[in-house]
């Protein structure tokens, strides 16, 4: 297991210590708990707070999106493990400025149960809490069972747009509405080439043959749609785009934002080779591209692989996605 680390049991805490040391002006922890992170500085009075949370090992997910025009706080779990309800509650209390708090997180059992617990506890402390659960991986459940779908890289779009909306001092209901609108209009599918290693486990939790790939595999190694020989980049994108486009469906005349996400070990060079084909297909389908995000937005440590997400835009979403944003892991100037 070739990882830069000291004690595997300290992996997450030392990582957070490094993050806080590197970005002291931008991030802080609360409740004397490294795992409870919030945006450093003054709370904007009347701004809805946005919290997220989830397992570690997915940087820049989840804590990397705490920043201006993005999120206000994040409860950080162990590698691939949910943070506790108590930690979520601490974050909630720290970021509420009276306008309520929106939880945005991915559709995973552990996270849901803990955020449910945290929401119950927050209500007892008179904090208004609403929840939006992102799940857009078309490979993880068939159409008609969207509620069962895993949340993967597409959650970035939910953060970006809800963050911009909250920044405009919109109400909790309004921020929740755009977050749900994004969820309804984003679809993702991925492909994995290699597993990754959880530091405390020390060996890959699944294996995949030397010349194999798995289309549709989840970011923790959840099974996908098809395991088979590694295909050419264009063939892989053909398969992925076919499923994504048919699902919403995305149609001629639509305008989209495209996210090509690397899972960890896959170089940017290859992501752009993938995007090349995505763009060709969209062009052929008469779907226009408003803007692109290509890089690592949701990873599984050193897993090799990639995912493609499409977000169908309308004027409201275009306005919000174009807004400036700034965190230690993601910066965008006004488009």
């Amino acid at each position: 297991m070739k990882k830069f680390m000291n004690d595997p049991h300290q992996f997450v805490d030392e990582m957070i210590e490094g993050i806080l040391a590197a970005h002291p002006d931008q991030l802080a922890c609360v409740a004397n708990d490294l795992r409870c992170l919030i945006k450093n500085g003054h709370k904007k009075k009347g701004k809805v707070g946005i919290a997220t949370g989830g397992g570690s090992g997915h940087l820049p997910l989840f804590l990397g999106y705490i920043g201006d025009g993005l999120l206000d706080g994040c409860a950080v779990g162990g590698v691939f493990q949910s943070p506790s309800a108590e930690q979520m509650l601490e974050v909630t209390k720290a970021i509420d400025s009276g306008a309520g708090v929106l939880y945005i997180y991915g559709n995973y059992g552990g996270d849901i149960m803990n955020f449910d617990m945290a929401a119950e506890m927050a209500e007892l402390e008179d904090i208004k809490v609403q929840q939006v659960v992102a799940g857009e991986d078309v490979a993880s459940a068939p159409k008609g069972e969207e509620g069962k779908r895993r949340g993967v890289a597409g959650i970035f779009f939910v953060y970006k747009i809800a963050g911009a909306m909250a920044d405009s001092l919109a109400s909790l209901e309004e921020v929740k509405r755009v977050a749900q609108k994004v969820c309804a209009n984003v679809r993702t599918m991925g492909v994995a080439l290699t597993p990754c290693i959880v530091p405390e486990v020390g060996k890959p939790s699944f294996t995949i043959g030397e010349n194999e790939m798995e289309i549709g595999m989840g970011i923790h190694g959840e099974p996908g749609i098809h395991r088979g020989p590694l295909l050419k980049a264009d063939e892989i994108i053909d398969q992925i785009m076919k499923r994504i486009l048919a699902d919403l469906p995305y149609k001629k005349g639509d305008e989209v934002s495209v996210l090509v996400n690397g899972l960890g070990a896959t170089p940017k060079e290859e992501l752009y080779i993938l995007y090349r084909k995505v763009q060709q297909i969209l062009k052929k389908e008469g779907i226009s591209v408003f803007n692109t995000y290509i890089g690592e937005f949701a990873t599984s440590m050193e897993m090799a692989g990639a995912s493609v997400s499409l977000l169908k835009l309308d004027d409201e979403l275009k306005g919000l996605i174009s807004k400036q944003a700034n965190s230690p892991f993601f910066a965008q100037l006004q488009l």
Partner: protein
Amino acid sequence: MTQLNVIDVRAIIRNLKIKMDEKRDYLIELDGAMGDGDLGITMSKAFTAANEEAERSEEILPGKLLIKLGMAMAKAAPSTMGTLMATGFMRGGKAIGDTEALGTGELAGFMDAFVNGIMERGKSKPGNKTIIDVLYPAAQSLLEAKRNKKPLKQGMEEAYEAAHQGMENSRQMKAQHGRAAYYQDGSIGKQDAGATVGLLFIEVFYEYCR
């Protein structure tokens, strides 16, 4: 053994910790087959935390102690199973109330509240290939033993058999919750990792009451 007092509860927790440490790699492997492979780690963590809390706490009422253990587990291991276990301990402890010693009836009440708590938190029910398919029949068996006024030893023995049977039955079920659900029909025939935890849990109680 006809009744469990707070000292016995502490001993059982200790045995649970030892059992989960022993089965760590086995659970990792089972969870790795249809999940993320962390179950051995989280269960070991959860019961280590519970054991530490049991040793630290000076609580003399079994019910109150069990609630505290649940809180410690929730903090230490907020995974699906950690959270469900924690919920089970908290609800089960609450059900016991201020009783100082647990016979068949009290233990039946504990297990019943335990599994109901899990079902509520996980929005799940028997037949979905989860830990519930082991704990639910065990709790039902204890309730039956209570009705029939069976002694603790015999009640736990029957509960363990029921749990075992539940675990076997669950093999042929199709997973509906958690990561295993992604495997759909592929989960049929496989042993559920969480159900295994449930069986280990009942086994420790059974071995202690023997």
